[in-house]
């Protein structure tokens, strides 16, 4: 069982025995990425990103299916899955992190989330500036960050190297709901 599921189980187990559940879930988180070059702009989005947020300790776990990223052009989507991310081998990307200086209740503020991102079989430490708000008394997290293609050993053939940026901008939005089980 990988680390991500261990974290999920730990979160569920803890919250299952607490009187006031501290756990929130977002099943339809939004993650998009953008590659800007002078040759072409590429963007894709995934609207089925799973995230669990635990207010007991400020931990956040995120998991997404790389195949669920939708591109405007079918050929780009095919190259992304088959050649770059190799989704048959690495179907998911996972982030596990903790909000620094976390306090409850969640108030409108910007915090740093420190954690690790695992993508294409490579794990890297990340610090992500995250805007935290409450909408209808529920937490909403938004933000953006950059990843270096080379950090995750994604091989881009020289013939299309000019079409794909070396730094990819990633944006996210998670609207959480209380987790009920």
């Amino acid at each position: 069982m990988n680390k991500f599921f261990t974290l999920f189980f730990a979160l569920f187990f803890y919250c299952g025995f607490s009187q006031n559940s501290s756990k929130y879930i977002s099943r339809q988180g939004h993650v998009s990425f953008f590659s800007y070059t002078s040759v072409e702009n590429i963007e894709a989005e995934n609207n089925q990103v799973l995230s669990i947020f635990d207010t007991a300790n400020g931990e956040i776990a995120i998991s997404m299916l790389m195949r669920a990223f939708v591109f405007k052009k079918a050929l780009m989507q095919e190259h992304f899955n088959e050649s770059y991310i190799e989704t048959d081998i690495y179907p998911k990307a996972v982030f596990e992190g903790v909000i620094t200086d976390f306090k409850v209740p969640v108030e409108a503020t910007t915090k740093i989330v420190k954690g690790t991102l695992t993508l294409h079989g490579i794990t890297k430490e990340l610090e992500i500036k995250t805007k935290m708000e409450r909408t209808n008394d529920l937490p909403v997290f938004t933000g953006s960050f950059e990843v270096l293609v080379s950090d995750f050993k994604i091989k881009i053939p020289p013939v299309v190297a000019g079409n794909i940026a070396k730094r990819i901008e990633v944006q996210f939005r998670f609207e959480y709901q209380p987790y009920e089980n």
């Binding site: 299916l65 669920a68 591109f71």
Partner: protein, 143 residues
């Protein structure tokens, strides 16, 4: 020596081939995913939402291999319809308290999807993308 008439015919044919080839490559490189319209795809597999989730709980790898990127037909009971990020999603009960079948609906389905309510028994088809906590299907249309 080719006659002038043959030369003109050959040049015209070459031009037509070039234009046809260019058009083909333009369409090929710019085609949107599922531009052929999923409505025309016959489902390869027809199953219930409960069976789909059971398969994943029992054997995630085997189930992924069986369903991944295939157009599948799923029958189930509506848990809820959500509208998030400008998209309608239908969640189907799966017999589990924590997992559902999550169906991202095509935009032209909005009018029909808005009429759905909890407990409705429906059939839909879509492209199976994998399993996180829920089974995820994209490009879904109601049947």
């Amino acid at each position: 020596m080719m006659s002038k008439k043959v030369k003109i015919v050959m040049m015209s044919l070459s031009m037509l081939l070039l234009m046809g080839g260019s058009y083909y490559f333009y369409v090929f490189f710019n085609a949107a995913p599922f531009s052929g319209d999923i409505v025309d795809y016959s489902p390869e597999i027809a199953i219930s939402s409960e069976f789909l989730l059971d398969r994943f709980v029992e054997d995630e790898q085997g189930a992924s291999a069986a369903y991944m990127e295939k157009v599948i037909e799923v029958e189930g009971e509506v848990k809820e319809v959500t509208f998030l990020n400008n998209r309608y999603t239908v969640l189907l009960y799966s017999g589990s308290k924590v997992s559902y079948v999550m169906c991202d609906m095509r935009t032209e389905q909005a009018e029909m999807v808005r009429k759905l309510k909890e407990g409705d028994k429906i059939k839909l088809k879509g492209v199976f993308k994998g399993f996180l906590m829920d089974a995820i299907m994209l490009n879904c249309v109601l049947l």
